[in-house]
Amino acid sequence: MGVPFEALLPYGIMIGFFAFSAASLAGLKSMQNGGKAPRRGLDAWDRQMMERDRRLTGFARGQTDKPEAPPGFEVNNPWRVEKRFF
């Protein structure tokens, strides 16, 4: 009894494409988080601390335990501005 492998080829293609997209998205997420587990359930405090991490280390998930900030840190905090309102 021969196995009808031709009937299974489309399934292989479908599984292959799903696996490709899953792996790509997982890779993208891992890249965005520097290989760490992504943060979840963030509130305003967490977001502003991540923004501060970005200003300190250049990367939102970067961490440093130095007691003193690198030079220029004290002036790289931007004023938030809004579009001109007519």
């Binding site: 760490k36 440093t64 007691p67 938030r80 501005v81």
Partner: protein, 154 residues
């Protein structure tokens, strides 16, 4: 593509003018979020007076606290930096393993009690700073001292 970052766009304005010279300089605290969270209770233990002083100054400054309380603010910054420096000097391994654990577990203190116990012990032995959670109800055990936890196994 230019290599220069924008200083002014529709969302943000970077003003890189340094503070004037008549304001004494202080180095900003360089620890990022996870090390700060890990050290927070020790910062609280050592710097409580400075922090309370600053908050009282701000409360009494009628909204001008950012300008009028810079002296107190510098003390707060220096004190926090001294705690981070001492932690790095005496308990570097415990400190790093704790904040790296926090970074792994979404900054949940309750997922890193094992590392925290080691860090607390090291800090208490070397720096004489004890973690106490303020405003714990009377007669209730502090949560980080619990022997048995319901929602976490670590």
């Amino acid at each position: 593509m230019s290599s220069r970052q924008p200083r002014f766009n529709q969302q943000a304005l970077y003003d890189t003018t340094p503070l004037p010279d008549d304001i004494p300089k202080v180095k900003e605290l360089g620890a990022s979020s996870a090390p700060l969270l890990s050290a927070s209770f020790f910062i609280g233990a050592r710097c409580k007076d400075y922090n309370d002083d600053y908050m009282m100054c701000k409360n009494e400054a009628n909204g001008r606290g950012e300008f009028d309380c810079m002296k107190e603010g510098r003390k707060v910054t220096r004190c926090a930096a001294s705690v981070i420096r001492d932690l790095n000097e005496h308990c570097l391994n415990e400190f790093r393993s704790h904040w790296q654990c926090l970074e792994r577990y979404n900054h949940h203190l309750y997922d890193c009690r094992m590392e925290e116990r080691k860090l607390n012990k090291c800090v208490f032995d070397n720096l004489k700073l004890a973690k106490t959670i303020p405003d714990t109800p009377k007669g209730e055990e502090q949560i980080h001292l619990r022997k048995k936890n319901t929602f976490t196994t670590r």
